[in-house]
Amino acid sequence: MLKRCYVLPKLNTFVYRSQRHIQTKAPFDINDTDDQYKELNTMYSDMFSSYPKNSISNGTPTETDSSSECDDLNKEFQDLFQIDNPNLSGQELERNVKSPGRFILKSLSNNPYYNLALEDYVFRNTPVSKNITQDVFPNHRLLFYINNKCAVIGKNQTVWQEVYLSELQKQGYELLRRLSGGGAVIHDLGNVNYSFITSRNEFHSSFFNELILKWLYLFDKTLPITLNKRSDILFDGKKCSGSAFKIAQGKAYHHGTMLVNSNLDNFHGLLKPKDTPGVKWDSPSVDSVRSNISNISLESTDRFVDICIDGFKTDFKGSSPNEIPVFFCNEEETINDEILSTIDTLKSDKWKYFSGPKFDIEFLDKQVLISCEKGMVTKSNVPGLEGTQFKTLWEDEEMHRNIYPNKF
Protein backbone atom coordinates (compact mmCIF):
# COMPACT_ATOMS: atom_id res chain seq x y z
CA MET A 1 0.00 0.00 0.00
CA LEU A 2 2.80 2.36 0.88
CA LYS A 3 4.47 1.53 -2.39
CA ARG A 4 1.47 3.02 -4.13
CA CYS A 5 1.77 6.24 -2.21
CA TYR A 6 5.42 6.34 -3.03
CA VAL A 7 4.68 6.35 -6.76
CA LEU A 8 2.09 9.07 -6.50
CA PRO A 9 4.26 12.08 -5.84
CA LYS A 10 6.03 11.10 -9.04
CA LEU A 11 2.73 10.94 -10.91
CA ASN A 12 1.96 14.28 -9.47
CA THR A 13 5.22 15.68 -10.70
CA PHE A 14 4.67 14.13 -14.07
CA VAL A 15 1.37 15.89 -14.55
CA TYR A 16 2.86 19.12 -13.36
CA ARG A 17 5.76 18.82 -15.78
CA SER A 18 3.51 18.11 -18.73
CA GLN A 19 1.62 21.20 -17.89
CA ARG A 20 4.79 23.21 -17.77
CA HIS A 21 5.92 21.91 -21.11
CA ILE A 22 2.96 23.19 -23.02
CA GLN A 23 2.95 26.46 -21.20
CA THR A 24 6.55 27.43 -21.70
CA LYS A 25 8.29 27.92 -24.96
CA ALA A 26 8.57 24.78 -27.04
CA PRO A 27 12.09 23.52 -27.74
CA PHE A 28 11.56 24.20 -31.43
CA ASP A 29 10.20 27.10 -33.39
CA ILE A 30 6.48 27.08 -33.62
CA ASN A 31 5.52 28.15 -37.03
CA ASP A 32 1.84 28.81 -37.33
CA THR A 33 1.84 27.90 -40.94
CA ASP A 34 3.47 24.55 -40.35
CA ASP A 35 0.57 22.13 -40.31
CA GLN A 36 2.58 19.31 -38.80
CA TYR A 37 3.45 21.20 -35.59
CA LYS A 38 0.14 22.95 -35.47
CA GLU A 39 -1.62 19.65 -35.35
CA LEU A 40 0.69 18.49 -32.57
CA ASN A 41 0.19 21.67 -30.62
CA THR A 42 -3.54 21.53 -31.01
CA MET A 43 -3.55 17.96 -29.80
CA TYR A 44 -1.64 18.84 -26.62
CA SER A 45 -3.67 21.94 -25.97
CA ASP A 46 -6.82 19.86 -26.32
CA MET A 47 -5.46 17.27 -23.97
CA PHE A 48 -4.12 19.47 -21.23
CA SER A 49 -5.95 22.74 -21.29
CA SER A 50 -9.34 24.25 -21.57
CA TYR A 51 -8.18 27.11 -23.75
CA PRO A 52 -10.12 27.80 -26.87
CA LYS A 53 -8.38 26.10 -29.76
CA ASN A 54 -7.31 29.32 -31.37
CA SER A 55 -5.50 30.60 -28.28
CA ILE A 56 -2.41 28.59 -29.03
CA SER A 57 -2.23 29.89 -32.56
CA ASN A 58 -1.70 33.47 -31.41
CA GLY A 59 1.66 32.35 -29.97
CA THR A 60 1.05 33.76 -26.46
CA PRO A 61 -0.47 31.04 -24.37
CA THR A 62 -1.68 32.24 -20.97
CA GLU A 63 0.79 31.27 -18.26
CA THR A 64 -1.68 30.09 -15.69
CA ASP A 65 -5.24 28.99 -15.82
CA SER A 66 -6.65 27.78 -12.55
CA SER A 67 -9.35 25.78 -14.22
CA SER A 68 -7.02 23.75 -16.39
CA GLU A 69 -7.53 20.04 -16.43
CA CYS A 70 -4.02 19.51 -15.14
CA ASP A 71 -4.81 21.43 -11.99
CA ASP A 72 -8.01 19.50 -11.59
CA LEU A 73 -6.15 16.28 -12.03
CA ASN A 74 -3.49 17.34 -9.55
CA LYS A 75 -6.10 18.31 -7.03
CA GLU A 76 -7.89 15.04 -7.53
CA PHE A 77 -4.71 13.12 -6.79
CA GLN A 78 -4.07 15.28 -3.76
CA ASP A 79 -7.53 14.84 -2.35
CA LEU A 80 -7.62 11.17 -3.07
CA PHE A 81 -4.23 10.37 -1.61
CA GLN A 82 -3.77 13.31 0.74
CA ILE A 83 -0.65 14.44 -1.00
CA ASP A 84 -0.34 18.14 -0.48
CA ASN A 85 3.39 18.10 -1.00
CA PRO A 86 5.88 15.75 -2.41
CA ASN A 87 8.49 14.65 0.10
CA LEU A 88 9.98 17.39 2.22
CA SER A 89 13.56 18.35 1.54
CA GLY A 90 15.96 18.36 4.49
CA GLN A 91 15.62 22.12 4.73
CA GLU A 92 11.83 22.04 4.60
CA LEU A 93 11.82 19.42 7.33
CA GLU A 94 14.06 21.59 9.50
CA ARG A 95 11.91 24.66 8.92
CA ASN A 96 8.68 22.87 9.77
CA VAL A 97 10.09 21.05 12.79
CA LYS A 98 11.66 24.16 14.33
CA SER A 99 8.64 26.38 13.69
CA PRO A 100 5.74 26.38 16.10
CA GLY A 101 2.55 24.60 15.15
CA ARG A 102 1.13 21.13 14.83
CA PHE A 103 1.71 18.77 11.93
CA ILE A 104 1.56 15.16 10.85
CA LEU A 105 4.57 13.51 9.24
CA LYS A 106 4.38 10.27 7.31
CA SER A 107 7.63 8.54 6.45
CA LEU A 108 7.62 6.63 3.18
CA SER A 109 10.88 4.94 4.10
CA ASN A 110 10.93 1.44 5.58
CA ASN A 111 14.45 1.77 6.93
CA PRO A 112 14.13 1.38 10.71
CA TYR A 113 17.35 3.32 11.39
CA TYR A 114 16.16 6.26 9.35
CA ASN A 115 12.72 6.21 10.92
CA LEU A 116 14.00 6.14 14.51
CA ALA A 117 16.54 8.86 13.71
CA LEU A 118 13.88 10.99 12.02
CA GLU A 119 11.62 10.61 15.04
CA ASP A 120 14.43 11.62 17.37
CA TYR A 121 15.23 14.63 15.17
CA VAL A 122 11.65 15.87 15.20
CA PHE A 123 11.41 15.25 18.94
CA ARG A 124 14.66 17.04 19.82
CA ASN A 125 13.96 20.04 17.60
CA THR A 126 10.31 20.62 18.38
CA PRO A 127 10.13 23.97 20.15
CA VAL A 128 8.90 24.11 23.71
CA SER A 129 8.35 27.35 25.50
CA LYS A 130 10.88 28.11 28.25
CA ASN A 131 8.03 29.48 30.25
CA ILE A 132 5.76 26.47 30.29
CA THR A 133 2.62 28.07 31.56
CA GLN A 134 0.63 27.75 28.36
CA ASP A 135 -2.66 25.94 28.80
CA VAL A 136 -2.20 23.65 25.86
CA PHE A 137 1.02 22.73 24.08
CA PRO A 138 0.76 24.27 20.61
CA ASN A 139 3.39 22.15 18.85
CA HIS A 140 2.10 18.57 18.91
CA ARG A 141 3.50 16.36 16.20
CA LEU A 142 2.25 13.01 15.00
CA LEU A 143 4.52 10.69 13.02
CA PHE A 144 3.86 7.44 11.20
CA TYR A 145 6.40 4.97 9.88
CA ILE A 146 6.60 1.35 8.84
CA ASN A 147 9.80 -0.61 9.31
CA ASN A 148 11.25 -3.53 7.41
CA LYS A 149 11.64 -6.71 9.41
CA CYS A 150 13.45 -5.95 12.65
CA ALA A 151 13.60 -6.64 16.37
CA VAL A 152 13.72 -3.52 18.54
CA ILE A 153 14.80 -3.68 22.17
CA GLY A 154 14.36 -0.95 24.79
CA LYS A 155 17.12 1.50 25.65
CA ASN A 156 17.84 -0.20 28.98
CA GLN A 157 17.75 -3.82 27.92
CA THR A 158 20.38 -6.46 27.23
CA VAL A 159 20.56 -7.78 23.67
CA TRP A 160 21.45 -11.37 24.58
CA GLN A 161 18.73 -11.59 27.19
CA GLU A 162 15.98 -10.45 24.82
CA VAL A 163 16.54 -11.96 21.38
CA TYR A 164 17.92 -15.01 19.60
CA LEU A 165 20.54 -13.16 17.57
CA SER A 166 21.35 -16.08 15.27
CA GLU A 167 17.67 -16.64 14.55
CA LEU A 168 17.15 -12.96 13.69
CA GLN A 169 20.08 -13.15 11.33
CA LYS A 170 18.81 -16.33 9.68
CA GLN A 171 15.36 -14.86 9.12
CA GLY A 172 16.64 -11.50 7.90
CA TYR A 173 15.61 -9.32 10.84
CA GLU A 174 17.72 -6.31 11.78
CA LEU A 175 18.40 -5.70 15.46
CA LEU A 176 17.98 -2.22 16.91
CA ARG A 177 18.21 -0.66 20.33
CA ARG A 178 15.78 2.24 20.48
CA LEU A 179 16.10 5.50 22.42
CA SER A 180 12.97 5.03 24.51
CA GLY A 181 12.27 2.67 27.39
CA GLY A 182 10.22 -0.50 27.49
CA GLY A 183 10.64 -4.03 26.16
CA ALA A 184 11.50 -5.92 23.00
CA VAL A 185 9.17 -6.06 19.98
CA ILE A 186 9.22 -7.39 16.42
CA HIS A 187 8.32 -5.22 13.43
CA ASP A 188 7.49 -6.07 9.84
CA LEU A 189 5.74 -4.29 6.97
CA GLY A 190 2.32 -5.23 8.36
CA ASN A 191 2.99 -3.24 11.51
CA VAL A 192 2.63 0.53 11.55
CA ASN A 193 4.30 2.76 14.15
CA TYR A 194 2.86 5.99 15.44
CA SER A 195 4.64 8.60 17.50
CA PHE A 196 2.95 11.44 19.34
CA ILE A 197 5.17 14.31 20.51
CA THR A 198 3.92 16.53 23.31
CA SER A 199 5.21 18.58 26.23
CA ARG A 200 6.46 16.98 29.42
CA ASN A 201 3.69 18.81 31.25
CA GLU A 202 0.93 17.30 29.21
CA PHE A 203 2.47 13.86 28.93
CA HIS A 204 0.53 10.97 30.34
CA SER A 205 1.23 7.38 29.39
CA SER A 206 -2.36 6.41 28.60
CA PHE A 207 -3.44 9.69 27.00
CA PHE A 208 -2.71 9.00 23.36
CA ASN A 209 -3.84 5.37 23.31
CA GLU A 210 -7.14 6.46 24.79
CA LEU A 211 -7.50 8.82 21.85
CA ILE A 212 -6.61 6.06 19.40
CA LEU A 213 -9.24 3.88 21.00
CA LYS A 214 -11.78 6.67 20.63
CA TRP A 215 -10.92 7.19 16.97
CA LEU A 216 -11.05 3.46 16.23
CA TYR A 217 -14.47 3.26 17.90
CA LEU A 218 -15.68 6.17 15.79
CA PHE A 219 -14.63 4.21 12.73
CA ASP A 220 -16.15 0.93 13.89
CA LYS A 221 -17.81 0.74 17.27
CA THR A 222 -17.86 -3.06 17.18
CA LEU A 223 -14.05 -3.41 17.27
CA PRO A 224 -13.19 -5.57 20.33
CA ILE A 225 -10.44 -3.29 21.59
CA THR A 226 -9.46 -2.35 25.15
CA LEU A 227 -6.56 -0.85 27.06
CA ASN A 228 -4.69 -2.90 29.64
CA LYS A 229 -3.04 -1.59 32.81
CA ARG A 230 0.17 -0.84 30.95
CA SER A 231 -1.80 1.30 28.48
CA ASP A 232 -1.28 -1.22 25.68
CA ILE A 233 -4.11 -1.77 23.21
CA LEU A 234 -5.61 -5.25 23.20
CA PHE A 235 -7.63 -6.78 20.38
CA ASP A 236 -9.87 -9.62 21.54
CA GLY A 237 -7.80 -9.73 24.72
CA LYS A 238 -4.49 -10.08 22.85
CA LYS A 239 -1.95 -7.32 22.46
CA CYS A 240 -2.07 -5.62 19.05
CA SER A 241 -0.14 -2.52 20.07
CA GLY A 242 2.76 -1.88 22.43
CA SER A 243 3.95 1.49 23.68
CA ALA A 244 7.12 3.13 24.92
CA PHE A 245 7.93 6.66 26.02
CA LYS A 246 10.75 9.13 26.15
CA ILE A 247 10.97 12.29 28.25
CA ALA A 248 13.66 14.90 27.59
CA GLN A 249 14.14 18.66 27.28
CA GLY A 250 10.69 19.50 28.63
CA LYS A 251 9.07 17.30 25.98
CA ALA A 252 7.87 13.73 25.74
CA TYR A 253 6.86 11.28 23.10
CA HIS A 254 4.63 8.28 23.15
CA HIS A 255 5.39 5.87 20.35
CA GLY A 256 3.65 2.63 19.71
CA THR A 257 3.28 -0.25 17.30
CA MET A 258 0.03 -1.38 15.68
CA LEU A 259 -0.07 -4.86 14.22
CA VAL A 260 -2.43 -4.77 11.23
CA ASN A 261 -1.41 -7.50 8.82
CA SER A 262 1.87 -8.68 10.24
CA ASN A 263 3.05 -12.19 9.60
CA LEU A 264 2.74 -13.22 13.24
CA ASP A 265 3.70 -16.85 12.60
CA ASN A 266 7.15 -15.65 11.60
CA PHE A 267 7.57 -13.80 14.89
CA HIS A 268 7.79 -17.05 16.84
CA GLY A 269 11.21 -18.01 18.14
CA LEU A 270 12.79 -14.56 17.72
CA LEU A 271 12.25 -13.13 21.19
CA LYS A 272 13.50 -15.10 24.16
CA PRO A 273 11.16 -16.36 26.84
CA LYS A 274 11.54 -14.98 30.33
CA ASP A 275 13.53 -18.00 31.42
CA THR A 276 15.93 -20.04 29.35
CA PRO A 277 16.56 -23.44 30.93
CA GLY A 278 20.05 -23.73 32.35
CA VAL A 279 20.78 -20.01 32.11
CA LYS A 280 20.48 -17.60 35.01
CA TRP A 281 20.53 -13.87 34.39
CA ASP A 282 21.14 -11.37 37.12
CA SER A 283 20.73 -7.83 35.87
CA PRO A 284 18.82 -4.64 36.59
CA SER A 285 17.92 -4.71 32.86
CA VAL A 286 14.33 -3.73 32.11
CA ASP A 287 12.05 -6.74 31.73
CA SER A 288 10.00 -7.41 28.63
CA VAL A 289 6.43 -8.33 29.50
CA ARG A 290 5.68 -11.34 27.33
CA SER A 291 2.22 -11.16 25.76
CA ASN A 292 0.07 -13.03 23.27
CA ILE A 293 -0.25 -10.90 20.19
CA SER A 294 -2.84 -10.38 17.47
CA ASN A 295 -3.37 -8.23 14.41
CA ILE A 296 -6.16 -5.68 14.64
CA SER A 297 -8.97 -6.29 12.14
CA LEU A 298 -8.40 -3.37 9.81
CA GLU A 299 -7.83 -3.97 6.11
CA SER A 300 -4.52 -2.12 5.88
CA THR A 301 -1.92 -0.14 7.76
CA ASP A 302 -3.05 2.85 5.69
CA ARG A 303 -6.55 2.49 7.08
CA PHE A 304 -5.19 2.77 10.61
CA VAL A 305 -3.07 5.78 9.68
CA ASP A 306 -6.02 7.51 8.00
CA ILE A 307 -8.25 6.94 11.03
CA CYS A 308 -5.61 8.52 13.26
CA ILE A 309 -4.98 11.42 10.87
CA ASP A 310 -8.70 12.22 10.73
CA GLY A 311 -9.02 12.02 14.51
CA PHE A 312 -5.91 14.08 15.12
CA LYS A 313 -6.98 16.76 12.64
CA THR A 314 -10.35 17.02 14.39
CA ASP A 315 -9.30 16.83 18.04
CA PHE A 316 -6.16 18.96 17.77
CA LYS A 317 -7.40 21.65 15.44
CA GLY A 318 -8.00 24.01 18.36
CA SER A 319 -8.92 27.53 17.36
CA SER A 320 -6.67 27.59 14.29
CA PRO A 321 -8.49 28.37 11.05
CA ASN A 322 -6.14 26.10 9.09
CA GLU A 323 -6.19 22.36 8.81
CA ILE A 324 -3.24 20.52 10.41
CA PRO A 325 -0.88 19.76 7.50
CA VAL A 326 0.32 16.29 6.53
CA PHE A 327 3.91 16.10 5.30
CA PHE A 328 5.70 13.23 3.63
CA CYS A 329 9.33 12.28 3.82
CA ASN A 330 11.79 9.65 2.73
CA GLU A 331 15.39 8.93 3.47
CA GLU A 332 16.74 10.09 0.10
CA GLU A 333 15.24 13.57 0.14
CA THR A 334 14.36 14.30 3.75
CA ILE A 335 17.76 14.04 5.31
CA ASN A 336 20.26 16.19 7.18
CA ASP A 337 23.47 15.81 9.17
CA GLU A 338 21.72 15.40 12.50
CA ILE A 339 19.58 12.52 11.21
CA LEU A 340 22.61 10.92 9.52
CA SER A 341 24.59 11.11 12.74
CA THR A 342 21.78 9.48 14.75
CA ILE A 343 21.54 6.73 12.11
CA ASP A 344 25.28 6.11 12.59
CA THR A 345 24.82 5.91 16.35
CA LEU A 346 21.86 3.55 16.09
CA LYS A 347 23.77 1.30 13.67
CA SER A 348 26.95 1.25 15.75
CA ASP A 349 28.04 -1.76 17.78
CA LYS A 350 28.83 0.67 20.56
CA TRP A 351 25.14 1.57 20.92
CA LYS A 352 23.76 -1.91 20.27
CA TYR A 353 26.18 -4.14 22.14
CA PHE A 354 28.40 -1.97 24.31
CA SER A 355 25.80 0.08 26.15
CA GLY A 356 22.89 -0.81 28.39
CA PRO A 357 22.80 -2.29 31.88
CA LYS A 358 25.51 -4.45 33.35
CA PHE A 359 24.68 -8.09 33.91
CA ASP A 360 25.80 -11.40 35.38
CA ILE A 361 25.06 -14.57 33.48
CA GLU A 362 25.45 -18.06 34.80
CA PHE A 363 25.41 -21.25 32.72
CA LEU A 364 24.28 -23.71 35.34
CA ASP A 365 25.32 -26.92 33.59
CA LYS A 366 28.99 -26.04 33.21
CA GLN A 367 28.97 -23.67 36.17
CA VAL A 368 30.30 -20.83 34.08
CA LEU A 369 29.91 -17.34 35.50
CA ILE A 370 30.38 -14.20 33.46
CA SER A 371 29.95 -10.60 34.63
CA CYS A 372 29.65 -7.87 32.03
CA GLU A 373 29.66 -4.12 31.98
CA LYS A 374 29.03 -2.16 28.81
CA GLY A 375 29.48 -5.29 26.75
CA MET A 376 32.88 -6.21 28.20
CA VAL A 377 33.55 -9.19 30.44
CA THR A 378 34.66 -7.79 33.81
CA LYS A 379 34.77 -11.04 35.73
CA SER A 380 34.57 -14.74 34.99
CA ASN A 381 35.52 -18.07 36.49
CA VAL A 382 36.77 -19.12 33.06
CA PRO A 383 40.39 -18.04 32.71
CA GLY A 384 41.15 -15.63 29.89
CA LEU A 385 37.66 -14.25 29.45
CA GLU A 386 38.16 -11.09 31.45
CA GLY A 387 38.60 -8.06 29.26
CA THR A 388 37.08 -9.74 26.19
CA GLN A 389 33.95 -8.59 24.40
CA PHE A 390 30.83 -10.52 25.30
CA LYS A 391 29.65 -10.08 21.72
CA THR A 392 32.74 -11.86 20.34
CA LEU A 393 32.41 -14.59 22.91
CA TRP A 394 28.77 -15.07 21.98
CA GLU A 395 29.62 -15.24 18.28
CA ASP A 396 32.30 -17.86 18.82
CA GLU A 397 30.21 -20.93 18.14
CA GLU A 398 32.72 -23.42 19.48
CA MET A 399 33.14 -21.54 22.71
CA HIS A 400 29.42 -21.21 22.90
CA ARG A 401 28.80 -24.91 22.38
CA ASN A 402 31.19 -25.65 25.20
CA ILE A 403 29.40 -23.37 27.59
CA TYR A 404 25.81 -23.83 26.47
CA PRO A 405 24.80 -26.30 23.78
CA ASN A 406 21.21 -25.17 23.15
CA LYS A 407 19.66 -22.52 20.93
CA PHE A 408 21.01 -19.09 21.78
Partner: protein, 186 residues
Protein backbone atom coordinates in the same frame (compact mmCIF):
# COMPACT_ATOMS: atom_id res chain seq x y z
CA UNK B 1 7.54 8.66 52.73
CA UNK B 2 4.17 9.36 54.23
CA UNK B 3 1.59 6.92 53.04
CA UNK B 4 -1.02 9.63 52.67
CA UNK B 5 1.06 11.47 50.12
CA UNK B 6 1.62 8.36 48.06
CA UNK B 7 -2.11 7.66 48.07
CA UNK B 8 -2.83 11.17 46.89
CA UNK B 9 -0.22 10.70 44.21
CA UNK B 10 -1.62 7.46 42.94
CA UNK B 11 -5.08 8.99 42.94
CA UNK B 12 -3.79 11.90 40.91
CA UNK B 13 -2.30 9.45 38.47
CA UNK B 14 -5.54 7.58 38.00
CA UNK B 15 -7.69 10.61 37.38
CA UNK B 16 -6.94 10.97 33.66
CA UNK B 17 -7.73 7.33 33.07
CA UNK B 18 -11.04 7.59 34.87
CA UNK B 19 -12.02 10.77 33.07
CA UNK B 20 -11.12 9.56 29.63
CA UNK B 21 -12.59 6.12 30.21
CA UNK B 22 -15.79 7.49 28.79
CA UNK B 23 -13.88 8.49 25.65
CA UNK B 24 -16.31 11.31 25.10
CA UNK B 25 -14.31 14.14 26.62
CA UNK B 26 -12.74 16.45 24.05
CA UNK B 27 -8.99 16.00 23.83
CA UNK B 28 -8.01 19.32 25.29
CA UNK B 29 -10.05 19.02 28.42
CA UNK B 30 -7.90 16.06 29.30
CA UNK B 31 -4.67 17.96 29.24
CA UNK B 32 -5.51 19.98 32.26
CA UNK B 33 -6.50 16.89 34.15
CA UNK B 34 -3.28 15.14 33.26
CA UNK B 35 -1.17 17.48 35.24
CA UNK B 36 -0.61 16.03 38.63
CA UNK B 37 -1.73 18.34 41.37
CA UNK B 38 0.05 16.57 44.15
CA UNK B 39 3.70 16.92 44.99
CA UNK B 40 4.87 16.61 48.52
CA UNK B 41 8.02 17.80 49.98
CA UNK B 42 10.78 19.00 47.66
CA UNK B 43 13.14 19.56 50.59
CA UNK B 44 16.45 17.76 50.74
CA UNK B 45 16.33 14.81 53.16
CA UNK B 46 18.47 15.95 56.08
CA UNK B 47 19.29 12.42 57.22
CA UNK B 48 21.06 11.23 54.10
CA UNK B 49 24.39 11.70 52.36
CA UNK B 50 23.48 14.59 50.03
CA UNK B 51 22.84 16.65 53.18
CA UNK B 52 25.18 15.01 55.68
CA UNK B 53 28.23 15.02 53.41
CA UNK B 54 29.42 18.10 55.35
CA UNK B 55 28.62 18.36 59.05
CA UNK B 56 26.80 21.66 58.52
CA UNK B 57 24.90 20.49 55.46
CA UNK B 58 25.15 21.84 51.92
CA UNK B 59 26.06 25.42 51.21
CA UNK B 60 23.53 25.73 48.47
CA UNK B 61 20.45 23.79 47.31
CA UNK B 62 19.04 24.69 43.91
CA UNK B 63 16.40 23.37 41.52
CA UNK B 64 16.05 23.28 37.73
CA UNK B 65 13.01 23.65 35.50
CA UNK B 66 13.67 20.05 34.39
CA UNK B 67 12.99 19.01 38.00
CA UNK B 68 16.52 18.22 39.12
CA UNK B 69 17.88 19.25 42.49
CA UNK B 70 21.47 20.16 43.25
CA UNK B 71 23.10 20.19 46.71
CA UNK B 72 26.49 21.90 46.72
CA UNK B 73 28.90 21.57 49.60
CA UNK B 74 31.71 23.92 50.59
CA UNK B 75 34.44 21.84 48.89
CA UNK B 76 32.54 21.85 45.57
CA UNK B 77 31.19 18.32 46.01
CA UNK B 78 27.70 18.45 44.57
CA UNK B 79 24.92 15.87 44.66
CA UNK B 80 22.31 15.71 41.94
CA UNK B 81 18.96 14.00 41.81
CA UNK B 82 15.39 14.44 40.67
CA UNK B 83 12.79 16.17 42.80
CA UNK B 84 10.00 14.53 44.72
CA UNK B 85 7.58 16.09 42.26
CA UNK B 86 9.38 14.53 39.26
CA UNK B 87 9.69 11.12 40.92
CA UNK B 88 5.97 11.06 41.68
CA UNK B 89 5.10 12.09 38.12
CA UNK B 90 7.30 9.37 36.60
CA UNK B 91 5.91 6.52 38.64
CA UNK B 92 7.76 3.41 39.75
CA UNK B 93 11.36 3.49 38.60
CA UNK B 94 12.64 0.25 37.07
CA UNK B 95 16.13 1.22 35.94
CA UNK B 96 18.47 4.14 36.52
CA UNK B 97 21.15 4.85 33.94
CA UNK B 98 24.10 6.33 35.83
CA UNK B 99 26.91 8.56 34.62
CA UNK B 100 30.44 7.21 34.49
CA UNK B 101 33.05 8.49 36.90
CA UNK B 102 35.46 11.15 35.64
CA UNK B 103 33.14 12.28 32.85
CA UNK B 104 33.38 16.01 32.29
CA UNK B 105 29.94 17.46 31.86
CA UNK B 106 28.68 20.76 30.53
CA UNK B 107 25.59 22.50 31.80
CA UNK B 108 22.44 20.94 30.32
CA UNK B 109 24.18 17.72 29.26
CA UNK B 110 22.20 14.58 29.85
CA UNK B 111 24.02 12.53 32.49
CA UNK B 112 21.68 9.60 32.78
CA UNK B 113 18.09 8.54 32.69
CA UNK B 114 15.33 7.14 34.83
CA UNK B 115 13.21 4.40 33.31
CA UNK B 116 9.78 3.91 34.77
CA UNK B 117 6.90 1.96 33.26
CA UNK B 118 8.33 1.94 29.71
CA UNK B 119 9.37 5.57 29.83
CA UNK B 120 12.99 6.68 29.58
CA UNK B 121 13.34 10.10 31.13
CA UNK B 122 16.61 11.94 30.70
CA UNK B 123 18.36 13.55 33.65
CA UNK B 124 20.27 16.75 32.97
CA UNK B 125 23.06 18.40 34.88
CA UNK B 126 22.36 22.12 35.16
CA UNK B 127 26.00 23.11 35.83
CA UNK B 128 29.50 22.44 34.46
CA UNK B 129 31.54 19.93 36.38
CA UNK B 130 33.08 16.47 36.61
CA UNK B 131 31.30 13.30 37.67
CA UNK B 132 32.86 11.73 40.75
CA UNK B 133 30.50 8.77 40.83
CA UNK B 134 26.99 7.57 40.15
CA UNK B 135 24.93 6.21 43.02
CA UNK B 136 25.43 2.48 42.55
CA UNK B 137 22.78 1.71 45.20
CA UNK B 138 20.29 2.59 42.48
CA UNK B 139 21.48 -0.33 40.34
CA UNK B 140 20.04 -2.87 42.72
CA UNK B 141 17.36 -0.61 44.23
CA UNK B 142 15.91 1.71 41.58
CA UNK B 143 12.87 2.16 43.81
CA UNK B 144 14.97 4.53 45.99
CA UNK B 145 14.14 7.12 43.32
CA UNK B 146 10.52 6.89 44.44
CA UNK B 147 10.89 6.30 48.15
CA UNK B 148 13.59 8.91 48.81
CA UNK B 149 14.37 10.94 45.66
CA UNK B 150 15.96 13.76 47.66
CA UNK B 151 18.08 11.59 49.92
CA UNK B 152 19.05 7.93 49.34
CA UNK B 153 17.93 8.28 45.73
CA UNK B 154 20.60 10.78 44.66
CA UNK B 155 21.82 10.03 41.15
CA UNK B 156 25.25 11.59 40.77
CA UNK B 157 28.03 13.05 42.84
CA UNK B 158 29.97 15.76 41.00
CA UNK B 159 32.80 18.16 41.54
CA UNK B 160 31.61 21.63 40.65
CA UNK B 161 33.52 24.88 40.72
CA UNK B 162 31.27 27.46 42.29
CA UNK B 163 33.02 30.53 40.94
CA UNK B 164 32.90 29.57 37.26
CA UNK B 165 29.30 28.41 37.62
CA UNK B 166 28.13 31.51 39.47
CA UNK B 167 25.88 32.88 36.72
CA UNK B 168 24.25 29.49 36.17
CA UNK B 169 23.75 28.89 39.88
CA UNK B 170 22.19 32.32 40.32
CA UNK B 171 19.63 31.55 37.64
CA UNK B 172 18.59 28.18 39.08
CA UNK B 173 15.52 28.13 41.32
CA UNK B 174 15.55 28.32 45.09
CA UNK B 175 13.08 25.99 46.81
CA UNK B 176 10.50 28.80 47.02
CA UNK B 177 10.96 29.66 43.36
CA UNK B 178 10.70 26.01 42.36
CA UNK B 179 7.47 25.56 44.33
CA UNK B 180 6.16 28.72 42.68
CA UNK B 181 7.18 27.33 39.27
CA UNK B 182 5.25 24.14 40.01
CA UNK B 183 2.18 26.13 41.00
CA UNK B 184 2.22 28.23 37.84
CA UNK B 185 2.46 24.95 35.98
CA UNK B 186 -0.86 23.68 37.19
Amino acid sequence: MLSTSSITRSLARTIPRAVSGTSRTPAFRLFLRCQSTSHGNNNLNKNELPFKFSPTGPKLVKYSKDHEWLAMHADGTTFLGITDYAAAALGDATYIELPEADTEVDANDSIGSVESVKSASEVYVPVNGTVVEGNTDLESSPQLINSDPMGKGWIAKLKVDEATNKDILDKLFTLEQYEQFLKSDE
